[in-house]
Subunit: 318 residues, 2 copies
């Protein structure tokens, strides 16, 4: 259904600026270029360890600007609130949203709320649009990726997906795991000075494996990932083993995957590791001049394909 | 509940730029000022005579920019689609949305779709954010309104509210009435050259009476409306009489209310009447140096207060 829907929108709304692959798009306003991004949030439950739909909406939106190399400035919010939602919960969520915005240095400048009938609306949906600016001349994107480039990730993957899933309490599993949901601005800013920086993305829906597949598809090159280099927390690994998920396909909401020229990979890694949120950053693979494919190599030399995701393994986590 | 919700948002997100009364807010990006507005759309049914939720989302958003004196440039859209929604209907709606955007000269530059569980989401919700620019130095707003100013409306009120309500087929009433939903850009542009233009608004939720009350509250002045001057279609009047609604409280989605200096009221009226969508424009009242109140004067000299609306007479019409 998702694919069908995307076709419908792409078909009827296509214009040179609408790029459904991009995190944020540059548009001109007079002589100024602004970056615009928009995202809808429907996470269930609305509050989870390490975040809630309010902070997630802020982080998700500013992260799309951040990985485009932009500085987020303004947010607009449109909320759909189900009639009968507990006001105390709404208050917690909006307060958390406000704190997330303040601490990321963005201002909420426009808002709208619609109350929808009880039984519709899943409690609360939030649509957020972010506006930012980036340094003139800066261009990041998959079109800059070359064979030989290194791929790095800023921290352990899958925390968000598993934390939200466990919060649903469907499986009777408990854990201290927290969502990684956070602003990635410090991470993206740390790499911007590197001339060899090609591309950044926050691996949300579909996780790391999906970003790797998108890179492979867009460049026509192969991506080789090294299993033992990819940071995955023990708690995430064990829940995944028990329930049959692959952490590489799970959403992160506070991580960045970057592709950098091989000779600057060490510098990029050092820049990230110098930050509290980049402590576990790692070089996890490389782009290779093979046919377009994503291959995971294990420590023992085994190889397996990481296929494109057919559908979300965990729906409603962002 | 609405009031409570607005308090929650205002409390936690307050900053100098967030003005919940404004249609669109000016924000600075480098040396450029852009205008930003955001709105959520939940109309039921999704398609109605004269429009649908897609064209409504475009018109509603660009109209908020237009009445601020801005030229809309870009739209971003976030849609929440209920699982199982008929793709043919989605296709019609998105196509209509695309046509509305093209004909208003705006580009959809960012989009996101989220599929929500069957039984949630009311079929389709759309959140839209609009970005535009306005002439430097232009300032419109209720703070410019003075006693003696005239109030004009661009066309018959209440068409949208009644057209949507009849489309619900709850009342067994039929009519050829079409929603007035449309871009008001030609109307707002026609008044911008007038130095005596104080304020414009599209009377959506709560209709003309609500705009009049907001003016009265913001200025501390009275608003006197003349019943026989206010254009209301016969079909709207009869449905309202049958069902006990007051057309002055019903949403329009393609009309503009403007306040202009008394000596330019005739010029404003002429500018609107020269346009196809302003054929039935009328001077409907004046701002007066009385206590803050909205009074409707009938042709026979009777007077009644138009009170502030406690709640929407017709929910889910925009």
């Amino acid at each position: 259904m998702r694919e069908l829907i995307e076709q419908v929108f792409a078909h009827h709304l296509s214009n040179p600026l609408l790029d459904i692959q991009a995190d944020a798009v540059p548009v001109s306003v007079g002589a100024t270029e602004i970056m615009v991004t928009t995202d809808g949030f429907t996470v269930q439950p609305l509050e989870f360890p390490g975040g809630d739909i309010g902070s997630l909406a802020v982080h998700g939106t500013i992260n799309d600007l951040a990985v485009s190399g932009a500085t987020p400035l303004y947010l607009s919010l449109s909320t759909f609130i189900e009639e009968g939602m507990e006001i105390a919960q709404l208050e917690r969520i909006v307060s958390s949203l406000g704190r997330a915005a303040t601490s990321a240095g963005v201002q909420v400048v426009a808002g709208d709320t619609k109350v929808v009938r009880r039984g519709e609306g899943g409690g609360l949906y939030i649509a957020a649009t972010g506006v930012g600016i980036r340094a003139p001349g800066l261009s990041l994107g998959m079109q800059h990726i070359r064979a030989g480039d290194a791929m790095i990730v800023s921290g352990p993957v899958g925390d968000h997906g598993i934390a939200v899933m466990l919060a649903r309490e469907q499986f009777g599993l408990r854990s201290d795991l927290q969502s990684d949901a956070a602003s990635v601005l410090p991470l993206t800013r740390a790499l911007l000075p590197l001339s060899g920086l090609r591309f950044m993305r926050d691996p949300t829906r579909g996780g790391l494996a999906t970003v790797a597949n998108e890179i492979s598809r867009a460049t026509g090159l192969g991506v080789l990932l090294r299993d033992e280099q990819i940071p995955v927390r023990e708690a995430v690994r064990s829940v995944c083993e028990m329930l049959g998920y692959d952490p590489l396909y799970l959403a992160c909401e506070g991580r960045v995957v970057a592709v950098v020229a091989a000779d600057q990979a060490a510098a990029a890694l050092a820049a990230w590791r110098a930050l509290p949120q980049g402590e576990f950053a790692a070089i996890i693979g490389a782009v290779e001049k093979t046919q377009p494919q994503v291959i995971m190599e294990t420590a023992l030399g085994g190889k397996r394909f990481l296929e494109e995701l057919e559908d979300d393994p965990l729906p409603r986590i962002c």
